[in-house]
């Protein structure tokens, strides 16, 4: 059995396929996979040469053999895939029947959403279809040369859910130590090991020498067998042709070090040949050198990992609608932008992890959770904590999350653990265990008992204690004053007896008492001293964050007080914002965003809200519009003024209801297939500054979703944006679909390649050249 040999015997993969094919006559622009059908003997001979050189594994010639990339081939990817496996089998039968055939899967060639357009489900389906075609005829699957961790995740899930085959994953790292989409080696190991694979490692991009820091980091972090397939040195471009200059002997020599350090499988990538494999075979030891890997609790996003080493890890609590009217309304009205802004603020304030809770009565929690997580992960690097009491929402969030999530939470009830632990295991998360069953036990020892129960039960699911963080539960001083210290005791006990990390929602302690921040930070200090690792707090509370900074200095986590000094010296230097003598109108005209809120409040003390809008804001805005049209000011200034006006409006609106004053709603989106939405966002900001309520559907919005949203929101106008001629096609499809569905609402279009002529051709009602033109148009129509 292959799985039994992995990590024990040192095994050898084959080397480069592309290099060999080029030697056999493959020309630039030809599709290598077509050789599987057109020149099977060439492919078989390459496999045979590798087997004769001593390779234990041969990989099928299927690197780009997916339905998307093979659209350009005259053959179906299915036939190319089957032919590839047939060739490999025949070569194996002839040379070494004990060798393994590995289904080779390279990157799909499309970037996944949110920054690209391929959905996670589409990536999953593509890889699943490849696996299903040949799963009974291969011995393992290799995801290789991967640059996107999200694609790797889709691939692992597809392979696991469609077969029982061993899975090997190798990613490609650049000389900056990251993949092209920004993942670092520790994050890669943490996420992929969590999902559960049979071997992981690196291939391609660099040579064995240059890959040293990356391979070392993987060996130090991974408990899973490690596979490495470097290139034959750094690629050298000669006349635009890629060449490799490291010899087989030198290659094998530099690989010895890694084998001595505990690599389990060695092979080669670009530029390596059967000679390289033979050289490796000569120098390799029979058995794998054992490694001792220290385990840590680690949570990751796609490009950042938080390792719990004893320092305080701050989890931002603000993305939770409980007790927050504004966020509640935003979630209900699907204005997710506000969630993202809340997330960005917490990241900027120094949070290490963000809690995400979207639980509201009447909301589709799993769908909302998926949407919010994807939007957050588009711009925020921090790992997320998925917070829900619904197993369905947790499962969905874990599936679509890019990274290794923190899951909040299970408790001591068997039923809850039985629902959540399989999800934690399958998707490889870290889970928070609350020390409660039917209620919160009063005494520390009882909470410890529940913690023990959780840790033991998790072990039966194969969840190690590094993947559990225990919540000892904060009680409210105003209601259970005597028991507050039981929480502190429980922290100590759990740490000592179980050796797991701990978490607390801190601010509960002060509920119902005056000057809550004082109690919060005092309790936090005591809790940290008692062993708290992960306080869930409001990172925008500066004093609370300062307390943590001070703690990290006093406990020597902030070495040489570097972080403390840089932050606190800044605090000392900050001068209070000088309030300028500008009027509200001048602030709007000059775009003074920082000062406008205070000024608006000030004028509202003496003037009526309507008067402020009609007598000050609107005239100032009109002046801005005129200045822009006469080239006195330009785009950045126009937007700056628009954003300033928006802030002023927000202050006015908070004092009385001006809903009757808001115009619209108008609905906007960037059409299907188009991800360039900066233009649409400019128009949106400017329209909002003129008091329009804008429903923003986002970018790359599928035709049917626009139609569905039209029915749901009943807008007064629909604005569509597209950047390229190729996506204007989808603009027409969207307009056609809206019309076919009986939409009578006027549609206006804009974007780089659009003209009045194109707008007429595709059936739009109006065209506008830029943001100001959109304002003029809407003002004249609505």
């Amino acid at each position: 059995m292959l799985r039994e040999r992995l990590g024990k015997e040192l095994l050898v993969f084959d080397g480069g396929m592309g290099t060999q094919l080029q030697e056999e006559g493959l020309k630039a622009g030809q599709i290598p996979e077509e050789y599987n059908i057109e020149h099977p003997e060439i492919i078989m001979n390459i496999h045979k040469r590798y087997l004769e050189a001593g390779a234990d594994f041969i990989t099928t010639n299927t690197f780009g053999c997916n339905p998307l990339k093979m659209q350009e081939s005259q053959y179906c990817y299915c036939d190319l895939l089957k032919a590839a496996v047939k060739n490999a089998k025949q070569a194996r039968d002839e040379v070494n029947p004990n060798a393994y055939i590995v289904l080779d899967i390279g990157p799909i060639g499309q970037l996944l959403e949110p920054l690209g357009t391929l959905t996670f489900d589409e990536a999953y389906e593509i890889i699943a279809s490849q696996v299903l075609l040949v799963k009974d005829e291969v011995d393992a699957v290799l995801l290789e040369t991967m640059t996107s961790l999200y694609e790797v995740k889709a691939g692992i899930l597809a392979i696991k859910e469609k077969s029982d085959l061993p899975i090997f994953v190798t990613m490609t790292f650049e000389d900056n130590g990251r993949t092209l989409t920004g993942s670092d080696p520790i994050t890669f190991v943490n996420v992929v090991e969590g999902l559960g694979v049979d071997a992981l490692g690196v291939n391609c991009s660099l040579g064995p020498h240059e890959l040293k820091p990356i391979i070392d980091e993987i060996l130090e972090t991974s408990s899973t067998p490690v596979l490495i397939q470097p290139n034959a040195g750094l690629p050298v471009l000669k006349n635009g042709q890629t060449c490799y200059e490291v010899t087989s002997q030198d290659y094998a020599q530099s690989m010895i070090e890694y084998m001595q350090k505990g690599v389990s499988i060695v092979g080669g990538c670009c530029g390596t040949t059967p000679d390289f494999i033979q050289a490796l075979n000569r120098v390799k030891p029979t058995y794998v050198t054992p490694r001792h890997v220290k385990k840590y609790t680690r949570v990751s996003s796609q490009n950042q990992t938080v390792t719990f080493r004893g320092q305080i890890v701050v989890c931002g609590e603000r993305l939770n609608p409980t007790g927050k009217k504004k966020l509640k309304a935003a979630l209900k009205e699907e204005r997710y932008d506000e969630c993202v802004v809340e997330g960005i603020k917490q990241q900027q304030a120094g949070a290490d992890i963000l809690d995400v809770n979207v639980g509201l009565p009447g909301i589709d929690e799993p769908a909302t959770m998926k949407k919010v997580i994807q939007l957050l992960q588009e711009v925020i690097n921090l790992p997320l904590q998925i917070d829900s009491s619904s197993p369905e929402a947790i499962e969905k969030a874990c599936r679509y999350y890019n990274g290794k999530p923190l899951i909040n939470s299970v408790n001591g009830k068997d039923k809850v653990m039985e629902a959540i632990f399989p999800i934690v295991k399958k998707y490889g998360g870290v889970v928070i265990g609350l020390t409660l069953e039917d209620g919160i036990p009063l005494y520390a020892e009882e909470r410890l008992a529940i913690a023990k129960k959780i840790v033991h039960k998790a072990a039966t699911y194969g969840i190690e204690k590094e993947n559990i963080i225990i919540d000892c539960l904060t009680l409210t001083a105003s209601a259970q004053q005597k028991e507050v210290q039981e929480t502190l005791k429980a922290l100590q006990l759990v740490k000592q007896e179980l050796g797991v990390h701990t978490v607390l929602g801190v601010s509960n302690v002060s509920f119902g008492l005056p000057n809550r921040p004082l109690l919060n930070r005092t309790f936090l200090t005591l809790a940290m001293q008692s062993g708290l690792d992960l306080p869930i707090i409001n990172p925008l509370d500066q004093q609370l964050m300062d307390t943590i900074d001070a703690y990290n200095v006093l406990y020597h986590f902030d070495k040489d007080s570097v972080h403390y000094i840089s932050k606190q010296s800044q605090v000392q230097n900050t001068q209070p914002l000088s309030t300028s003598s500008f009027s509200l109108e001048e602030m709007i005209i000059h775009g003074l965003k920082e000062e406008v809120k205070a000024k608006t409040k000030e004028v509202l003390e003496t003037r009526d809200a309507m008067d402020v809008i009609n007598g000050m804001i609107i005239p100032a805005l009109n002046q801005v519009g005129k200045d822009y049209e006469s080239n006195k000011i330009f785009l950045p200034q126009l937007i700056q003024s628009a954003e300033t006006t928006k802030l002023a409006f927000e202050v006015v609106k908070s004092t009385f209801s001006v809903d009757s004053q808001s115009k619209g709603p108008v609905m906007m989106c960037t059409v299907e297939g188009d991800i360039h939405d900066i233009g649409k966002n400019i128009v949106k900001v400017v329209l909002e500054s003129y008091g329009y309520q804008v429903i923003d559907l986002g970018k790359d919005v599928k035709v049917e979703n626009v139609v569905e949203a039209y029915h749901r929101y009943q807008p007064k106008m629909i604005g569509l944006s597209a950047l390229m001629t190729t996506t204007v096609v989808n603009m027409k499809r969207t307009i056609d679909a809206l019309h076919a569905d009986g939409c009578v609402c006027p549609i206006w279009v804009g974007g780089a390649v659009l003209t009045q002529e194109i707008a007429d051709e595709i059936g739009a009602d109006y065209y506008s050249e830029d943001a100001m033109a959109s304002v003029t148009l809407l003002n004249s129509l609505l």
């Binding site: 937007i639 297939g673 991800i675």
Partner: protein, 209 residues
Amino acid sequence: MNKRAILQYLQYYSDVDEKTENLIDECILEVKQLAQFKAIYQKFSLTHQPLKIQELDLLCESQDLEFYFKDCQECFVIACTLGIQIDRQTKLYEHIDMTKAVVFDAVSSRYLEECCDAYEDTLNLGIHTFRFAPGYGDLPLALNQPLSRVLQIDKKIGVSISQGGLFVPMKSMLGIIGLGSQVEKSCLSCVRKENCVLRKGGQRCYVRD
């Protein structure tokens, strides 16, 4: 970096105000720090009438290119990118500071051009033409697909072309340079001279019109 060019992207027709200039400086620093410029090239032979990339048997159906490449026997295809972190940061600013997002976007566009120019300079191309990107003038956008595949831009520099024909990351480009012929860089030798927004506004990209 050439700030005048950045201001052109931002549709400035006169002097810049201090606030915007500071914002541009701030964005230049950030873009330089965040960008991961990567580039790749390959050299091909050309045949004429019709204009073809010989090794790929690829027809370049473009009168503009026929004209500019008429004396060129070879060409370089260059693809380059600033990497995905620039897209990510632009999006972040779109959420919290639209003004900065717009400036950041313009600075990134300019930075890509300048990085690509600098890269071009390292290739010792000898006498050569401008860089022509598919989609520019009458050079079909569809050329991006076969050229990208040959250069393996997804594997080598992490750029993909979406089903809608867009490069991801957004700040990426692919251009063709003809060798052996020179067209002096001037506005009148530009294929966009008839419909250039900047020209209409009285601006010139080059010293010579």
